[in-house]
Symmetry: C2
Subunit: 211 residues, 2 copies
DNA sequence: GTCTATAGTCGGATAGAC
DNA sequence: GTCTATCCGACTATAGAC
């Protein structure tokens, strides 16, 4: 089955963006990997910036509705969810990115991390603008699990959590190599996600400090 | 008091590197901010790569010996330290970066984060090569606080921790603006560090999962 | 040690033929 | 939609005068 030029560009671009960051990935590199003509990027996407957004959007549009359904369920349930429940609700939507595309889960998280640290946070605004309500419902679910947490404290702890995840993924290839060499541990994305969840849940659920 | 060209370059470079990342910061931008000649970078540092290493090294050489003393104390003490003790030992060395230079603490952590995500991990090797023993003693202190944790599990949790900290700092300016606007909270670097420590200690100290 | 001037490379983008 | 050929700006690095 022949793949269209537009999709070939996006598939090569996402891999290279994840590996090298946005500004270290040139259009020439992308088009040579995709085996398409340089000018086709501008024909199909208009500019490099719009290509970046298209690549990220393809994942977000698949991921966010799944996450939203899971959070909605935690808000509607009779019993208040635990923090472990809430963070475990991320596992399936994240892993489903792997069915959509090879290495989809890590690519998605890597791109997310790049988006939050590269390019002065332009992509941060892009995400919160398009998916703000989903993030709000996530926050509401956490509140239900740990009502004593003030809104401000929750704000900080959820950003700590985001940092943990995206940084881990950004370094995951290197870290998995080290783990393999030093501990003879074969770690795939799924076990890594299952490793990080208790850490996150414990962090968000840490006792409240007096300031 | 007149500042030498070499130091003017490093001071401008560290601020711009932290704000924009290494590859999005050109030597032209650095030298124009520093109000020195473009060619002086190559005269004093040889290349852009060596400038990056010099900037990071200046912080690491001030930070690492302090951290090492604190970890040594935790290893020598009669009583085993708690995880909270260990992570609190980072506070003073980190804050002392602020005395050395204005905004030194956040700049240092920002640079560290850039070094771990930019440039395919070259800087990661640079750091572990020069300061591997300090990191080993840190690891030994954590082991003393939580002996049940396997070496492999500790490896992962400490990297989660690094991710939490560097990502938080990488976004700290934006996050502090939001917190100020939404919760009327004035957060400086010190309160942010003191906020993150319970999160980290709880995460590293999370119950051990059966795989 | 500092400057100007420039070599040499690589980047994004586009015009215009097919 | 796809291609070649280029434009033009920005970059690192260096040679050589002062």
């Amino acid at each position: 089955m022949r793949q269209g030029t537009k999709h070939k560009i996006m598939d090569s671009a996402e891999r290279l963006f994840a590996e090298r960051g946005f500004s270290d990935t040139s259009l020439r590199l992308i088009t040579s990997h995709a085996e398409v003509n340089l000018a086709s990027v501008n024909y199909h996407f208009g500019s490099k910036k719009e290509l970046i957004q298209a690549v990220l959007m393809r994942y977000l549009e698949a991921f966010m509705p799944q996450l939203d359904r899971a959070m909605q369920a935690h808000l509607d349930s009779e019993q208040a969810p635990s923090l472990d429940d809430i963070f475990n609700a991320f596992v399936e939507p994240l892993l489903s990115m792997n069915e959509q595309r090879k290495h989809g889960t890590s690519l998605f998280l890597l791109l997310l991390g790049r988006g939050y640290t590269d390019s002065q946070g332009h992509l941060r605004k892009f995400i919160t603008h398009h998916f703000g309500e989903v993030l709000d419902r996530f926050q509401a679910a956490v509140r239900r699990a740990y009502p004593q947490l003030t809104e401000a404290e929750m704000f900080w702890r959820l950003h700590f959590t985001l940092g943990t995840v995206v940084f881990t993924m950004a370094s995951s290839a290197a870290l998995r190599d080290i783990a393999n060499a030093d501990f003879n541990e074969q770690v795939n994305v799924e076990t890594l996600i299952r490793k990080v969840i208790p850490y996150l849940a414990a962090g968000v659920g840490a006792p409240i400090q007096q300031q």
